[in-house]
Point group: C2
Chain length 603, copies 2
């Protein structure tokens, strides 16, 4: 009795939420009290296994029978685990509710805070009949006398406003420099801001950062407006190649999109775009080229070359971007035509640069970039995994949006699924179709070669297009028709996962390593964060390693962009990564085809 | 007899024209044969003294009586001087015919040829399935391997065209760099060009230069299109201050004017503006600020400060100028609000930088900039000489255009004059009004205080506005009315010349020197080149020094701009001049007012 009155603190990471709960409370209940939204499809009955968590430290109850399968993965079910002392809990992205996920887009790691821009609060000598120095020299002299700083140049847009601003503000100003160039003058009561953007082919994520404190003031996401001109990279390259005006159009719409995001972020935080003095943009090589206005035709045909490999510093005005008029825009280096600045940013953001472990990093999309860090070497490749994981080319596929089936479990003839935002089922997104294929294979509906055993399940029906598994019968939802998984869908997933697995295997072979020597697999990006590692392993996309070797790190490319905005050290690292990276071209690699055919099998 | 058959070469400088003529031929006749157009108003009778030349070396006839006055100035009359052996003759600007003058706008001096831009003929490794470097890295590697050159950056406009140009031109290109930045790619059969421009308040002069040979390919001049918004600097500053849009308008029209000159020059020489990889612009501080788009309001009120003092390097695109997209535009430093980049350029162009002589340099205009170089010091000032020398505020004043009376001599009741292009007289330009005042004073019509003795000459008449001297009676010309010189005109010239003289005297006093210690007076600019030194001395504008100490150097500011385009050494010198120059503000100088009143007297 006395024992039950004792309370303990439960700390949920990486959400940073805590609750004090009586001993014996389940972690699921504790999470509710802490405001750390955990999935719990079955309502806490131990059957759906969506509330999986990892105990970092502390005392909890012994595993019960329904947890057997998750325990082998180093996990526990929050609904079955009771607090027996202070506990620290790690909540995987896949266990978070959708609103929670949106909050935690990526795991931030400590970096050395030292932005590339410097800010000096400067008092200039006022103009006077006996002091006839030009305004520009007055500014240079003040910087020299007050900060021992000698600048090389004053951006023309700054020179244009200096006489007006200096007289308006009583000859006092925050002087912002970048690489010896005075790029902005800000009133002394204004905080200089930075912008970090991850331009994905589908989605764009932007962060507004305080460059003095390093705090993230706001984040926003939107669809890439270029989608109107082509779903994927290749469609957009073809569009750009049709006419030079098309290429300019693609640049205009993405820049206008960025301007709009800046405006949204500034409105939310009551700031002005004119206070943004530096931006860091990352994206795949094609997105990178398109936002900068570089040609992409050479990206569209063999040997698929980037126009620019090294990092770029460009004035915001040269992009048509409306920040401080002299603001610098930094773009990280590209490694190859299909391994771009966003992959380097992912390596930075996930902290893989100086890891001593044999590490594989993946950013899964239509194009999947993979790197292997091992024994001082950095290897990378790119594989055409196709759009299946984004829901394209799948019979009832859709993007990860409300109503998308994102989780599927099949057992005892029962079909369980979960949709995003618990909305009525509309279709299946990437993590859903991966689960579906894994589960159908596990219960024997699908054979290792991907064909369906039409007699193995009552939900299978034969159509003109081949066999289909009915996931949601028409009667169970509002929209017309069934939601199905087809033989062709299975094939799409086979092709996609085989490409990824073959890529990993080629890199391992190049480094002379075996699967089991991988000490860490870091999976980044939206799909990579929400996919079920068990399902991915069971279809053979990833090698079957102890589950604690996997991390799903969210939008590491976006985090990397923020890191590069805030830390010169990270910017240097990016350059070093680009220089050291050995790029392996899969299409001409002698072992690729055989590794690829082996990987098509569903184990 | 035999002697007359002997022929000698006569060499006219700085025109560079030669003729072989029989011994005994006059220099005037020799000049005609050589195509070196000399003025000869009286037709070779020895009375007009317009054909004055300086014998550099060689054997000529003894001076005759009518030459007495010019001989004291170290000169001869070409119509009276006969060839007795090979002769080298220097033709002052004031003795050249107008078309000839246009050809020789300034005297060029040898400079160390080493442009700021570097040009490398580069062969890049072609794209290949087994060489997947980005195009930009291919370019950097080729520069490193073939020229041991490491560039810092590739201009974004170059990066944008590199993939297309490299593939089109078989991976060979002329790579143009400026200060570590790749600013242009040119086809290997194209000559990289430079542009030098002197932006005067009234006139703009532009030169197209081959940056490999250093040759001037073409020159062109035009009126400053900003004239539509104000005749002089102050009027334009007021216009700009009325509205921010006005300032932009002034920038737009001058940039459009420059674009037009570029287009004219390129058409004449069959070149492309896209081959111009660097431009050097000089102008007074106001013209400098207006072309760059810097604010001018602080130039329009005390203490009249420049926005930017140091040299500026700016991308042509940031000015809206249509050259090679990445071309650099260099602007020399400004010394003060009214001593601008054009004065530094004049010092460079006239070769005054490292002179060991006590030298005064003047650039006469509405605003006259004066420098004194003496004992290792560089002093400068600016005086408000007003627009009289440009024909403004003068009763029948006009700009130096066809029909302007540019030369006047009065003797024995006779009135002789010469107009530009020998056109019928329209009005009087600066050098004409200066001559007129000097001659009227010499023959006693004008008293030392500037008043007119109404009984001293039959051509004087009294009007409601005071006495006038009728230079051209209405009957002698096509246009209606007389061309007159009024009492007020004399006053305008007094004010103008007094300001200039007082400026010279203040600088001499600052350096502890006397008039007679000046070893050289260099007079630059259009009016300065065409004025009659005798007249200028006789009205007291210049000290009365031996005439060989004077040089009239034409558009030295334009030449200086060309020098800076072609020679890094000259660019450095400009920076050194700006740094060393001691600017003396006349309006607050204790001695200025008394020196100015003294200088109002006509000696």
């Amino acid at each position: 009795m006395a024992n039950e009155a004792v309370e303990y603190t439960v700390d949920f990471q990486p959400l940073g939420r805590r609750a004090r709960v009586p001993a014996g409370t389940t972690l699921l209940e504790a999470a509710r009290q802490a405001g750390a939204g955990l999935n719990a499809v079955c309502g806490g009955g131990g059957t759906c296994r969506t509330c999986r968590v990892r105990i970092i430290e502390g005392s909890v109850s012994e595993p019960v029978e329904v947890e057997a399968r998750v325990v082998t993965q180093g996990l526990r079910l929050a609904c079955q685990t009771r607090v027996l002392g202070p506990v620290r809990v790690d909540v995987p992205h896949s266990s978070m509710t959708a609103p929670q996920r949106a909050q935690v887009e990526g795991m931030e790691r400590p970096i050395e805070f030292a932005p590339s821009v410097h800010v000096y609060d400067v008092k200039m000598d006022p103009a006077h009949l006996h002091d006839l120095r030009a305004d520009s020299l007055r500014l240079r002299d003040a910087l020299r006398e007050q900060y021992q700083v000698e600048v090389d140049s004053i951006d023309i847009t700054v020179a244009r406003e200096l006489p007006i601003v200096a007289r308006r503000d009583g000859w006092r100003s925050q002087v912002v420099t970048h690489d010896g160039d005075v790029i902005a003058l800000l009133r002394s009561d204004v905080r200089p801001l930075g912008l970090a953007v991850d331009i994905g082919t589908t989605k764009v994520a932007a962060y507004l950062v305080d460059l003095i404190s390093g705090d993230t003031l706001g984040a926003t996401g939107t669809m890439n407006p270029q989608i109107a001109y082509g779903e994927d990279v290749m469609a957009r390259i073809s569009y750009a190649m049709q006419d030079a005006a098309n290429g300019r159009k693609l640049q205009e719409v993405i820049v206008a999109g960025l301007d709009e995001m800046v405006s949204t972020l500034c409105q939310k935080t009551d700031r002005s775009p004119a206070d943004i003095v530096e931006a860091v943009l990352v994206g795949n090589t094609c997105m990178h080229h398109m936002v900068v206005g570089l040609p992409v035709s050479q990206l569209g045909m063999a040997p698929y070359l980037a126009a620019v490999g090294e990092a770029i510093d460009i004035k915001a005005r040269d992009l048509g971007l409306h920040l401080a008029p002299g603001a610098n825009v930094h773009l990280l280096p590209n490694i190859a035509g299909f391994v771009g600045a966003d992959h380097i940013s992912m390596i930075i953001g996930a902290g893989l640069f100086d890891t001593q472990e044999v590490t594989v990093g993946l950013d899964i999309g239509t194009n999947t970039e993979i790197c292997l860090i091992a024994n001082g070497r950095l290897l990378s490749c790119s594989c055409a995994s196709g759009p299946a994981f984004e829901g394209a080319h799948i019979h009832d596929g859709m993007r990860a949006a409300p109503g998308a089936i994102e989780w599927i479990r099949l057992s005892d003839g029962k079909v369980e699924y979960q949709t995003i935002d618990n909305a009525p089922p509309v279709g299946i997104c990437g993590s859903g179709i991966l689960d579906g294929v894994a589960e159908l294979r596990r219960i024997g509906v699908i054979r290792p070669n991907g064909s369906m055993d039409v007699k193995s399940h009552e939900r299978i029906r034969l159509t003109d297009e081949g066999p289909q598994f009915v996931l949601v019968p028409a009667g169970e939802r509002e929209a017309p028709g069934d939601v199905v998984i087809t033989r062709k869908d299975v094939n799409e997933i086979q092709l996609a996962k085989a490409a990824i697995r073959a890529g990993v295997e080629v890199l391992l072979a190049e480094a002379g390593l075996e699967d089991q020597q991988i000490e860490r697999i870091v999976v980044a990006g939206a799909f990579g964060t929400y996919l079920d590692i068990d399902s991915a392993v069971s279809v053979g996309m990833f090698p079957d390693l102890p589950r604690e070797r996997f991390s799903q790190v969210g939008n590491a490319a976006g985090i990397g962009a923020k890191n590069v905005l805030l830390s010169r050290r990270c910017r240097q690292r990016a350059a070093e990564i680009a220089q050291r990276m050995e790029y392996i071209e899969l299409t001409t690699h002698p072992d690729f085809v055989s590794l690829y055919s082996d990987a098509l099998i569903l184990p």
